[in-house]
């Protein structure tokens, strides 16, 4: 989803510094739990998940010089795998770019900005299956706001954010939105 965040973002829950610290922690967690960076492939879900994946890959490269961010990071568009294609206006397709080496037998880290219903991740798992057969798939998200509708959980979370369903969580990233922050706002009118 590429809808631009509204001008009034609400209460800031993560600042730029918080975000950076969270990503560093996640990077360390990944290396620790995966026993190094070998076979690691990061796939971000467009739009902001892809940006986060790139940042995460750079951090991994700083920590582990053997990890080449450019060759190990890509993006995975899941639009064609969504289960709500007939409910909303037609969606613009994002692009998918996998690392040259592919994903067979790799440890794939799916990266997204917000984990909510889990449906996007479900779609990503289906899409992955059509591109290859990873050895392991893990999930890293910047924010987990709860309210799962599918049996899916994240392996790495930047911040657990208790929300109500009517609240709106907005992630802004420098590369896309010109600034870094995560904010929470009460429902505005009919907007979701």
């Amino acid at each position: 989803m590429t809808s631009p965040p509204p001008g009034t973002a609400g209460t800031t829950v993560l600042t730029s510094e918080d975000m950076h610290r969270a990503l560093r922690r996640i990077a360390h967690e990944i290396l620790e739990q995966c026993h190094g960076a070998e076979d690691l492939v990061l796939l971000g879900i467009p739009t902001r998940g892809a940006t986060l994946a790139k940042r995460l890959a750079e951090i991994l490269g700083e920590i582990e010089p053997a990890f080449n961010p450019e060759q190990r990071c890509g993006q995975l568009d899941v639009t064609l795998y969504r289960d709500d294609l007939r409910r909303l206006a037609p969606r613009t397709l994002g692009s998918t770019a996998l690392p040259k080496a592919g994903i067979d037998d790799a440890t794939v880290i799916l990266v997204d900005d917000v984990l909510y219903s889990g449906r996007t991740v479900r779609a990503a798992l289906d899409a992955l299956g059509d591109y290859g057969r990873p050895r392991t798939v893990r999930l890293a998200v910047l924010v987990d706001r709860g309210h799962r509708e599918l049996p899916i959980r994240a392996d790495h979370v930047g911040k657990n954010l208790p929300t109500s369903r009517t609240e709106r969580v907005t992630v802004r990233l420098q590369e896309v939105d010109g600034m870094d922050d995560v904010a929470i706002a009460p429902a505005e009118g009919s907007r979701q």
């Binding site: 064609l80 294609l85 909303l88 206006a89 613009t92 397709l93 692009s95 289906d126």
Partner: protein
Amino acid sequence: MIQLRHLLATADLDRASAVEVLDTAATMAATQARQIKKLPPLRGRTVVNLFFEDSTRTRISFETAAKRLSADVINFSPKGSSVSKGESLKDTVLTLGAMGTDAIVVRHAASGAPHRIAHSGWTNAAVVNAGDGTHEHPTQALLDAYTIRHHLAGGTGDLAGLSVVIVGDVLHSRVARSNVRLLETLGANVTLVAPPTLLPVGVETWPCAVSYDLDQAIDQIKPDALMMLRVQHERMSAAGGGYFPSPAEYQREYGLDVPRLGRLADAAIVLHPGPMNRGLEITSAAADGVRSVIVEQVANGVAVRMAVLYLALTGKEER
């Protein structure tokens, strides 16, 4: 993002929409390099290929596109043309509707038949025109534009500033009608080249230039793309003894032969919607030469039709 309720004519697309269709097609094309080519978005949807006119290539292209998007495909080719009285078009469409059809891809000898299916209240299905009489063939124009964009415009955006020359039987060509409108919408400069007998009365109001002289068009316009139209054999034996004196004369005046091929700019490409009459409107040297993108057009047809079906069959249900 545009939602296509139907795709009946290229005139239905403005520049932004046309570019979106091409962009969507490009994404679809990228998925077709995978080992697993099937995508799930139209799972459980039914697409009927309703072909009143034989066109194996177009039908197969639509069928492939629909299947790659996981739709169920039913091919239905009622026997006989519209002229021979069989079941009426309306009854055929009502029958398909009763079977739960989400999209009808129509090829029909009568101009406007898809328009009638879409707007007569016979069905709620999305209607995609796969060629109607001498009216339009919008997905052909889209795949032509896609091919031109891929080769000459870096594969993105529109076709602003490119010059395209379309040669041949414009009068009876749905491909020409669709291309003139779409290419103009995308910013290209289009010139039609044909003998006056094969140009419709009123062509002067079309958004394109018209010439009777292919050599002059090649030398003066220096086209980026040259599109050769198929000459139907029945055009040589129509009322008044045919639209031109003989195949030999047509070939001399309007065929893409080796000398004309040689005078094209280095980067120029040659298109043909197929099936070709080698030796009539196009020589083998041109059809098989380095400038020819004719085989690519076929491959691009699948991606473009995937895009059209995706845009027509996803999105809010308003049916």
